[in-house]
Subunit: 199 residues, 3 copies
């Protein structure tokens, strides 16, 4: 499960689009920036989210576990189980590259939260989580909620708040399933775009 | 459970209140609009939310199921169970009219998320969900959280974010219990008012 | 569990920092205020959150109960259980002073929502909840989500929305563990700072 290569350095593309009406002040060197359009985020980064499910034997490596079982809605009627009602709790590493952190290496961030499967006919889920940054580069959190419509090539979560270096952030995160390895590992690419920032 | 009449056409009342200070730009034909007051939403719609609980026998029709049982707090002390701790996961149709969609008809939107009961003395719950639009009229999601204080005639959720056609939306949704039919069906009227929009 | 002294009067520090660019209008006497900086919230209050866990014998007093058990991730590998996957549902009193409300006394507000433990190596949790005000002083709700990184002296939640007297509020709440009494009671100090208000 441990990747051979990993980069723990997180580089952000910060496009400081300071325009007149979105600028609310400049105390403490901070300036509130509100984006003009979906194409002009005030901050921008891509991270990979690694979900390593507990399978009964990987206690030391697993970062996600089922808190509830699927309900009968997922199994009685639909022949392929869609896990309806299964609540998964996670504390997943997030990395700049696709590889998992090396043993002992800190990831760029950790995603802490939950998702649960919420449709009987097909696989879809709903997420609530924080991306927790605790590195020399960044300290603070981004808070996200949203539907993971797993049948779509890409889908969007809302960034509903931020703290620390991401004070009062808002934005949209576009996710894409990058890989699935059997039943116990999947990786999501998350393109995080903030449209309200204090820079 | 299938209604006899249904309208799948969603009509929005979009009040474009473009005023000077709330307007952040006009790239891509989009203009950020921030409302002046609670009476002047920048977008406005009413949808009905249909919660069809799984009762053990309605697997094909049910859209909600209990992922956890009520805790002893809901049953030991209080003679009428208040379901404290029961977590319900849902994928509910939302419609413009009060009737359920006809068989094979797409609803105006789907509400995907969860609620759980959270008071021992009386019925109250807490919701986190997305309203997922996937029609010719609208594509995108609204993300909501909030307390459903079921004893009040109306109560308010926060719209904390939006994606797609509802890019970066915020607002307030006022809900009202429209009907309860036995233990396994209830319908909520949701008046969704957005106060931050990109139009 | 009942405190000997309690104050149910909630005093807010409202710093009306009306500056030109953050001011969006003044209909109905309401003015939208957006803060310049982290040091200049538009509204500001401190409340104590009392979590009284159900222990099997305190049904009448308990305000929190476990809806799920910890998963094996919390117990198999780590010798000190970290409750990974335990979902707690709460309806907790919030007070201005540190004491619990007197019998029959209404608290300043109630916190209604959930948290769950989400790390195998140490104690951390994730919260989603509403602070519900229903007093002569205030009616309305604040909606919060965020990571409770319990190892840090202070940590921050996002206020992602508000309703009623807190219409469309956003902000940051800094929490601090004020006391822990055994396994069944803890108190958090919550410094709630709003940076977007309609005043």
């Amino acid at each position: 499960m441990q990747g051979l290569m990993a980069s723990s350095k997180l580089s952000l593309t910060v496009a400081v689009v300071v325009f007149l009406l979105g600028m609310a002040g400049a105390a403490h060197g901070l300036t509130r920036v509100v984006a003009n359009s979906p194409d002009e985020p005030c901050m921008n980064m891509t991270l990979y989210y690694h979900d390593i499910l507990y399978n009964g034997n990987n206690t030391a490596n697993a970062t996600t576990a089922a808190a509830t079982k699927p309900t009968a809605l997922a199994t009685t009627y639909w022949k392929n189980s869609t896990y309806f009602g299964a609540l998964m709790v996670f504390n997943d590493p997030m990395t700049v590259g696709k590889a998992l952190p090396l043993a002992g290496e800190e990831p760029a961030a950790r995603a802490q939260g939950f998702y649960f499967y919420d449709k009987q006919e097909s696989l879809t889920s709903w997420f609530g989580f924080s991306i927790v940054f605790n590195s020399t580069a960044h300290k603070g959190t981004l808070n996200l909620v949203g539907a993971d419509l797993m049948g779509d090539a890409t889908r969007d979560f809302s960034v509903v708040g931020g703290t620390g270096d991401f004070f009062m952030a808002r934005g949209v995160t576009t996710i894409r399933t990058d890989t699935i390895e059997g039943l116990y590992y999947f990786r999501l690419q998350m393109d995080i775009k903030l449209y309200e920032c204090y820079l």
